[in-house]
């Protein structure tokens, strides 16, 4: 399924990305290394509100590392050394005294669905509970809304009390999306979300993402170049830790770019 036009078409009056406003994420000279080996070198880019920002590139190009740095998950990984500045909403993320508050504003979807060892309901209610929502009616409302937005509600509404891990792979991934949405995040990071998901479910999730763009900003790391083409407003191409190309997705796919490595990757000559 190849879409001729690139990027998600605006839906129901979605005004699209706000390129005239200050960017929500500003990355300056970001270099990340594991021990001596640099995984990312001198990345400088901006991500604007209400855009779907695609990051493509082959394995080991630093895409996941980049995402992890954005919500300071590097602190989970003692060997990971982050240099440079990352600002979210104009504020250096290292100046957030409460890293948990930072993370709670960013929803993350991992490549393989990570269902917490809880029921479907509790998976989605986890983050609202952390925020201090205790009332059952309120939680019910959040759970239903998030599962509906993740296109999962109809399939699981009768089994909210069974373990999340008993769902199928595609359902589990939608559950993690519902869980990310339950944080009411400003930013949604997706890291190769469709690896373990069948094509039909992938398309359903992609539709969900297009709708979500009017509410939040999405950073989409993907190894499927056509997925970036279908969804992303702008796309960055990472290769072995370098930012090779960044631009409107259309330009990348219409070969209006300088670097021949980009066209080579997009056309499948290597990858």
């Amino acid at each position: 399924m190849v879409d001729a036009t690139s990027g998600a078409a605006p839906l129901n009056g979605d005004p699209g990305p706000r390129y005239d406003e200050a960017p929500i994420i500003e990355v300056r000279d970001l270099t990340i290394s594991y021990g001596r080996t640099p995984a990312l070198r001198d990345i400088t880019l901006d991500i604007y509100r209400h855009e779907i920002f695609g990051i493509i590139g082959p394995a080991n190009s630093g895409k996941t590392t980049f995402l992890r740095a954005l919500n300071r998950m590097d602190e989970f990984n003692p060997g990971m050394d982050v240099d440079g500045t990352i600002r979210i909403n104009g504020k250096d993320i290292n100046d957030w005294r409460n890293v948990y508050a930072l993370r709670s504003r960013i929803g993350v979807v991992f490549p393989l669905p990570v269902g917490l060892p809880l029921t479907v309901y509790e998976n989605v209610a986890f983050s609202p509970r952390l925020r201090g929502i205790r009332k059952k009616a309120q939680l019910d409302e959040v759970v239903e809304r998030c599962l509906t937005r993740a296109a999962l509600w109809d399939e699981v509404k009768d089994r909210l009390d069974s373990l999340g891990s008993l769902l199928s792979g595609g359902q589990q991934q939608r559950l993690t999306i519902a869980r990310a949405l339950s944080q009411e995040p400003e930013l949604l990071f997706l890291d190769e979300f469709s690896i373990a998901v069948d094509p039909v479910t992938t398309m359903r999730i992609e539709d969900v993402l297009k709708e979500l763009r009017s509410e939040l900003t999405i950073v989409l790391v993907t190894n499927l170049v056509q997925q970036a083409r279908r969804l992303a407003d702008r796309t960055a191409f990472f290769l072995t830790g370098e930012l090779v190309e960044i631009g409107a997705t259309e330009d990348l796919f219409e070969r209006k770019v300088e670097d021949e490595r980009t066209t080579g990757y997009i056309e499948g000559r290597f990858g």
């Binding site: 948990y100 709670s104 990570v114 917490l116 060892p117 986890f126």
Partner: protein
Amino acid sequence: MAATAAAMDRRDLAWYTDRAARVLVFIGGISAVVFILGIFVFVTKEGLDFVFGALNLREFFTSIEWRPTSNNPTYGALALIVGTASVTGFAMLCSVPLSLGAALFIAEFATGKTRETLKILVEMLAAIPSVVWGFVGMSIMHPLIIRIFDVPLGLGVLNAGLILGLMAAPIMTTIAEDALKAVPDTYREAAEALGATRWEVILKVVIPASKNGLLAAVLLGVGRGFGETMAVLMASGHAINLPTSVFDSVRALTATIASELGDTVYGSDHYGALFTLGILLFLVTFVINLTADVVVRGIRKK
């Protein structure tokens, strides 16, 4: 084609090795069953004559008169049962929070050298022979308890319980730490990505995910407490008594068997009575393990 067919029929070295390995592993696998059954049959056989003969069940469970050597012997085991239960209970009260805390620290917070050093130290603690613990109870804790609490005797529930708690702590810590480490890091990352603090992650994700293993750790500790003999014999005071405070001396089931079995005549009522205590211990351990199993299965089904 013919050559291929012949090759398919030939049993080579790999085939025989595979067979031999399977048989050996099978023997290893069923040996546990054989030993358990063997112990059960033997203990029951030795005690059975007494159970169906001279034993008065009501006296056994309700009387504290354990006088197997008197002219008119009575076999009331209540004090012994209460003795074992109180010492084990007190030991668990001390060691469960301590062990789970230690396991949480080692598994979730300590890193690098701290972690390795702690693990080695905990394992060394597990290797101390029980008679050494008994010695600590008798010669260090005993005078210490007398001095601190101003009581006439320092051998009793408090002493034996503390010693037993310290003895059970390493195994509980090790098993609990294994259970915590078995929780995939992806759970921790996912929960942290949702904005949970380290403590919230532990409380709401890691502990629930490892509760089976943690329960197993506690039950192993309880089993250790029930079965421990030498240290309890030395630290409990070994007096037949229903304790009313933690300073009272008590006598444990295991210690009774250990101290009296050598003086009995084979096949006598006293001999049978001691084996009846053995059956009781065996049944209690069996019930504890069975309960654990049922609980664990119940959790899994959900």
